[in-house]
């Protein structure tokens, strides 16, 4: 039994019909003589009513078969088997040199070891293996510069490689431990790809002296500019690329 006059809590309980029959009636009687309180209570009731009406439509969504319990049971049953399969895939991926979540980890670990190893890693994953689609694609050099400028305001201009037949075709954003990085892929008429890579220098990746490093079938040329580290990644030992290296002053 509630006491009169009803407390704030009692009034809410009245609105929500959570009082006993007797209390509910008692509050009604009270409200009949208290127009101010009654107006407040009525406003709450109306808000609740509006909410119920507005949200009733959300119950009429077309069914989503993925949410059917039978389907979910089936998925749960296969889960343990799939879990093992995932573990195998992950081991394989680590063996191959990084994939998805491990890719980032791998990059971080490598970046401590060798300068701009993440640039090479990114080239392998995105330019050579095509594991992830590009974030940005274009035929137009100017718009590629615009895309890059959205993320790296003070970065070096994209190098003009058209003399050697290379044009920027796609861009991809990546994350490193120190923040966002980007890779722009250039391609020539024969489908050869080289990449321009920008990343923030981190505690383990300070500004770099100009240098060059060979890693397997790839060659990385790296340097630092205002605020960022840069790398060009080029497949070594191909004639076109040898020509490119001669025409350009890295």
């Amino acid at each position: 039994m509630i006491s009169m006059p009803p407390s704030e809590h009692d009034l809410h309980a009245y609105v929500d019909r959570q009082l006993s029959e007797a209390d509910q009636r008692q509050v009604e009687t009270y409200l009949a003589n208290q127009p101010d309180v009654a107006a407040r209570v009525r406003a709450w009731q109306q808000d609740a009513q509006h909410l119920r009406t507005a949200l009733s439509g959300a119950l009429q969504q077309p069914a989503n078969p993925d949410l059917d319990p039978a389907m979910i049971r089936q998925r749960l049953k296969h889960r343990s088997r799939r879990y093992l399969a995932n573990v195998a895939l992950l081991l394989l991926a680590i063996g191959m040199g990084g994939f998805s979540g491990w890719q980032a980890r791998e990059m971080t670990l490598l970046s401590a070891a060798a300068p701009m190893a993440d640039a090479l890693q990114a080239y392998r994953l995105f330019a050579q293996q095509g594991i992830l689609a590009a974030d940005y694609q274009t035929d137009d050099e100017g718009s590629m510069q615009g895309w890059l400028d959205r993320y790296f305001t003070q970065a070096n201009r994209l190098p003009d490689l058209s003399g050697a037949g290379f044009k920027p075709v796609s861009g991809r954003l990546l994350s490193t431990e120190q923040g966002a990085a980007a890779m722009v892929v250039y391609q020539d008429a024969s489908g050869q790809k080289i990449s321009f890579y920008v990343r923030p220098p981190g505690p383990k990746n300070f500004l770099l002296p100009r240098g060059s490093r060979r890693d397997g079938d790839l060659q990385a040329e790296y340097w630092s500019g205002p605020g960022y580290n840069y790398a060009m990644v080029i497949p070594s030992d191909t004639p076109t690329v040898q020509r490119l290296k001669q025409t350009l002053d890295f």
Binding site: E8, H9, H12, A13, D16, Q18, A43, W44, D47, A48, H50, L51, R52, A54, L55, A58, L59, Q60, Q61, A63, N64, D66, L67, D68, P69, A70, I72, R73, R75, L76, R150, Y151, L173, S175, A180
Partner: protein, 168 residues
């Protein structure tokens, strides 16, 4: 088992609606419902819920939303930087939540939305809500009172603005 599946099927539209009110995005909402059902079905065998199945499911869904929300907030700033726009409020939300009373509702905090959803829309008892949130019923009532006042103020804002425009 089949009896449970039927009960679950009946509740799915309510779970989806609740999930939309939390995530404000239909496809995220369905992902949330799916994880909730997976969890419910895998827990069912060893930990049968006491009492109302609906309140139990709401509670699972709510906790999973909070967990996911906490996790995603860590990435949202970075995402914003990458995409150059605020992905936390996708345009799909507008199509689901169009009406003006929902616009006010939408501006409430997560817990306030959940509270009004449970009490005003789904008609759960204060005790059930207290169990979900793990707080005494008195606390539920105080928070509910604040949620109602907030909704009131927000919807009054919605109503007075166009009225002023007409007078101009």
């Amino acid at each position: 088992m089949n009896e449970l599946d039927d009960q679950l099927r009946e509740l799915i539209p309510r779970l989806r609606r609740f999930a939309v009110s939390l995530t404000r995005n239909p496809s995220n909402a369905d992902d949330l419902v799916q994880t909730c059902l997976e969890r419910a079905l895998s827990k069912w065998s060893d930990k049968r819920p006491e009492g109302d199945l609906r309140a139990w499911l709401f509670s699972i869904l709510y906790r999973q939303f909070l967990d996911a929300h906490r996790r995603s907030r860590r990435y949202s700033r970075m995402l914003e930087f990458f995409t150059g726009r605020d992905d936390a409020h996708p345009s799909a939300e507008r199509s689901v939540i169009a009406q003006s009373s929902l616009q006010a509702f939408d501006q409430l905090t997560t817990e306030q939305r959940a509270l009004l959803m449970w009490v005003s829309v789904e008609g759960l008892s204060y005790q059930q809500v207290a169990d979900i949130l793990g707080v005494p019923t008195g606390t539920v009532m105080s928070r509910l009172s604040r949620a109602r006042q907030a909704l009131r103020q927000l919807s009054e804002g919605e109503i007075t603005r166009p009225a002023l425009r007409i007078l101009k």
